[in-house]
């Protein structure tokens, strides 16, 4: 039973380590997060997506806007240290991996990541 729940969770959530400072102060270098791959995205959500220029590389940025045809405009919370839609433009929805929903490391800052309203 516990194992089944764990397997289900594995399918829906993927753990990621954050690397870099473009999402500070919300996400810091070395944070561990769970990403909900079954969740839709709204403006304000932190999104994990494949880099449109280098698809094997996955990025974390915040959704700024979503166009009527689903393309997403993303930006770092720390724009001075961020390469985002200002550089590579809006991204197609197929590149989205999911929404960062839980931080589980470091323990002091662990918790659910609230969604923007």
């Amino acid at each position: 039973m516990i194992l089944a729940a764990w397997v289900a969770a594995q399918r829906r959530f993927i753990a990621f380590a954050v690397s870099g400072s473009s999402m500070e102060p919300s996400f810091c270098d070395g944070d561990f997060i769970l990403v909900d791959v079954g969740s839709g995205l709204r403006p304000g959500d932190p999104a994990i997506f494949r880099d449109p220029r280098q698809p094997q590389r996955e990025l974390i940025k915040r959704v700024k806007a979503i166009s009527p045809d689903g393309w997403l405009n993303l930006a770092g919370d720390n724009p001075d240290a961020s390469t985002d839609s200002r550089v590579f433009g809006a991204i197609e929805p197929a590149l989205i991996v999911g929404r960062a929903c839980v931080r589980y490391w470091p323990p002091k800052r662990a918790g659910l990541l609230r969604r923007a309203r």
């Binding site: 996400f27 561990f32 997060i33 994990i48 590389r57 996955e58 001075d80 390469t83």
Partner: protein, 157 residues
């Protein structure tokens, strides 16, 4: 047991800038300003016993003067445009004016054989260097150079 290692994810979400370098230093701008002064000195002191040799030397000194005046502008522009943040401007409200003066003096130093302009250029670049190091939380000192131009370099302490 190292809990962090145990829970470490295998996938990485990159939150980077493409070029996260953070390597800025006004040292190069100061060297270039000294080079401009030196070229003015060499041009002014040139002996003209052999005309073709003198012309050749003038051409070389002028080319280097042009290049280094441009280098001052480039180095200062990079620090001003890429490093400085709006918050720092509040603390150093004369920064824009200072950079503008550096651009204008560097142009004058390029266009003319002008000792005053090249000395003023160095002075303004030194002021710029002092502001830069202060934003890094470092005090500065002016040390005597080892160059034929004499003068000083601003260095962090």
């Amino acid at each position: 047991m190292d809990l962090r290692k145990l829970f470490a994810p295998t996938r990485v979400a990159h939150a980077h800038c493409d070029i996260p370098c953070g390597i800025y230093d006004p040292h190069q701008a100061q060297l270039a300003a000294h080079s401009v002064i030196r070229m003015v000195e060499l041009i002014t002191a040139l002996e003209r016993s052999d005309e073709s040799t003198a012309e050749h030397q003038i051409a070389r000194y002028t080319a280097v003067k042009e290049e280094h005046a441009e280098l001052v502008k480039r180095e200062v522009r990079i620090i001003w445009g890429d490093y400085f943040k709006p918050e720092q401007l509040q603390e150093y409200p004369n920064l824009h004016t200072l950079v503008f003066e550096i651009m204008k003096l560097a142009s004058t130093a390029r266009q003319q054989i002008n000792k005053e302009a090249s000395q003023s250029l160095l002075g303004k670049v030194q002021e710029f260097a002092e502001i830069f190091y202060k934003t890094k939380g470092r005090e500065t000192k002016r040390v005597a150079t080892v160059y034929p131009t004499g003068g000083e370099l601003v260095q962090p302490v």
